[in-house]
Amino acid sequence: MSTNDFTPRQLNADNFADRWQQRPDARSKARGEQRYPTDELAWPGLLHGRILRSPFPHAQITGINVDAARELPGVRAVVTAADIPGDNHYGIVFRDQPVFCTDRVRYLGDALAAVAADTPEIAAHALSLIEVQYTELPVLGDPAAALADGAPPLHPGGNLLDSSLLEHGDVEAAFKACAFVVEGRYSTPRQMHVFMETEGGVAVPDNQGGLTFRVGCQSGHRDREQLASILDLPLDKVRVIGLATGGGFGGKDELTMQPAAGLLALRTGRPVRIHFDRRESTIAGIKRHPVELVARTGCDAQGNILAHQLHAVLDTGAYATLGPAVLTNLTDHAAAPLYRIPNVKVTGQLVYTNNSVAGAFRGFGGNQATFAVESQLDKLAAAAGLHPAELRKRNLRTPDDPGVEGQTQQQPCDPRLLLDAALASPLWENATESDHRRWLTGVGMALGAQGNGLGNGLPDSGGARLHLSAAGRIELAFGFIEYGQGVIAAVEHLACEYLGCAPDDLDIRLGDSSGPDSGPTSASRSSVIAVEALRRLQPQWRAALQDIAGRHADDLAPGRGGLCTPSGDLRISYAKLAKMAAQRPVLKVHFDFPTGPDATPRGRYLQLLIASVARVAVDRLTGRVRVLQLHHITAGGKVIHPPSYLGQIEGAAVMGMGMALLEDVPMQDGQFLLDNLDAYLIPTLADAPEQRVDVIEAILGGESYPVRGIGELGIEAISPALIAAIENATGVRMHSLPVRPTTLLTAMQEQHP
């Protein structure tokens, strides 16, 4: 079905061949030698922990008895809320989630107790012996039920956790002046992260009342703070090592198994391992927010968009976690930040329910909003009789326009460059021509914007430590977690660039709360922090090494193997410098994430852009959609490590494709209608499209912020691009994700009976 001239697996025309290099962990991973948090099985005296979870989505707890479980041979500890020495609550934004529930359960993932036993089988048996008495309460199965009059409040502040309003101009008046107005109701699924390694790790007690966690997480430092508060330990008694882990995508941002494992380890004085199985991960893990969006957008007779209004309702589940921050980012994206629109009103409601907890997930609310906004643009173009690209061209913002809240932003380039490149894609050749009567083909595109950093003036800082070891190794430490994204490759490459050294000179240390705090590994912020840190360290490092070398070292600079002459000849090795030094340098930097010049920062200052073009084939008989090809044009600064860049964009795109076509965790009355990968399907190799990424590396503002984080960019525009391609193929526009074959087939039959 490929009738165009499309070279897949390409990063620009030259494939960045001269810059293509392996990630430092590639060989050990390809040989199965990499150790993961859930591989920590060989600890002497290791105990196996299990957590008892609620059988009801909403109930009063009237009694709990763990005596029988405690008496089971092989059980070493059973803990409940009564055993928690500190705060029984956690949560990154509000600490509203109980480690163990005491009076009430609010969803099926709520924990009641935990057991440590000699074997996983004994631990599972012990859970079945814990007696909890419940009185069931009415289940709030969706936001409408939770907001209805008389709904029982799930938290003291009521069921509306947060709301948003972003408004400028007067939309009501502006709609009256519009020649064309389109409306749409959109919905997006409760997508699951499906990191291949579910939540897990081990808590190891020392013999002085302290604990070390070796776990899968996204911030050792933040976990440490929360765990110290739960366990009532001083910070220096808790160490969290975020080991290289099997995927994160936002789903390991919040605490998972750490509190229960820590408590059990303190209780027993032995290492305790907890590894959620996929069922427990499905029920207790974080999801992407399901969102209902209602949008109205209008333009004048010339296609100038005059007004845009959108209302979003997010099902945040039983607890807050990062829901409020997701709502803020969704609101920003729902205001159509890529377009100059004089009258905009966006409102959002973040609602507690008895459903799965929703929180951080790659895209962070932005991609749900972009799906609705870009779909509205397509519908408006059709209503106004314009090509979708033409409508966009007439309304695109310039790089100098302020953001949707009037804030200053660093745009990577003029978005017109991306639109033009997308229109020049080979995918448009013979777009709807199929050599097969059964399959209808079509092409669509969408634009997206994505920011870096926590944004909105939230405290956001990071740092690094650089040290010359006694053996002459350059030890560079960041707090980031390597969960697959390739931060280890980025750090290695940037260190060699800024410090002049060779990869072999370096020992990179990541994710240890006893090292520097770099801030959370989230919000596409790590690459920016890494560059900013190394920029600051570069002159200090050079000076420190010259200092050791003493006189005549002024013309020497750090290079491969040691201090080198300007022509690159090695003069004094790092090993020798380490021996010569009276005091070996330990350099530390800590600084704020760039938030721009505004006194009150809003949104995200450092911005990236993407255009995604999709070519699909739709089966006339079944309504199944096959994604044939994806062509992305990205603008997010310099490519540090080509395989990681390509992998992040391609991987995010296929994850977005899953959200658009396959993935959802359906719930009914607070019950999960599936709990494993037999029913929750993610794309396989058989579903994977050909992909190509063209990068616009040149960046406005030149050297001020040359590198941006691209971990979330690839998912931003994929849903609306696929929906546009499906419409191009079938004439049917879908509004609800994921697009199931049966739903599409029904819509196609209604369109052409």
Binding site: E33, M196, E197, G647, L685, A688
Partner: protein, 156 residues
């Protein structure tokens, strides 16, 4: 109630093992917990993700689905036992060169499955190799690097 035990005699990575186990103990637990072979990973426990793929009598099989009572006299190879094989060397080099992995948690299963496919059919086409991998899920990469690696393996 005394738990039934089984004297299991089988081969793991070429060495004869005789162990006393529960007949319902999963191969995955025997490998990871009892024999400290953590190359095979647990992803779904129901044979859908392929992260625990090992070779049983030369065929790629999810280790989470086989029980001790099914292993008598059989030969099991994990990625730890494949590393010295030239076919495996080719497979892992192709994965590395194509940038076909990110978190790498699915990679042992993929590398083992590809090794078995190539061993069983040295002239396998790219399509045949891809089909062998349809039961191996990867959440990071979007499979594009994997497809490139497979193409290279089919060519060489």
């Amino acid at each position: 109630m005394s738990e039934p035990r089984l004297t299991l005699q089988f081969t793991v990575n070429g060495s004869e093992q005789i162990i006393e186990v529960s007949p319902t103990r999963r191969l995955l637990d025997i490998l990871r917990s009892d024999l400290n072979l953590t190359g095979p990973k647990e992803g779904c426990s129901i044979g859908r993700c392929g992260a625990c793929s090992v070779l049983v009598d030369g065929q790629s099989t999810p280790a989470c689905l086989l029980l001790a009572c099914q292993l008598q006299g059989r030969s099991v190879q994990t990625i730890e036992g494949l590393r010295d094989e030239p076919v495996f060397e080719r497979v892992s080099a192709a994965l590395v060169n194509a940038g076909a992995l990110q978190c790498g948690y699915c990679t042992p299963g993929i590398a083992s499955t590809l090794t078995a496919a190539l061993r069983n059919n040295p002239t396998a086409t790219a399509q045949e190799l891809e089909q062998a991998l349809y039961g191996n899920l990867c959440r990071c990469t979007g499979y594009t690097g994997l497809r490139q690696a497979v193409a290279e393996l089919a060519r060489t």
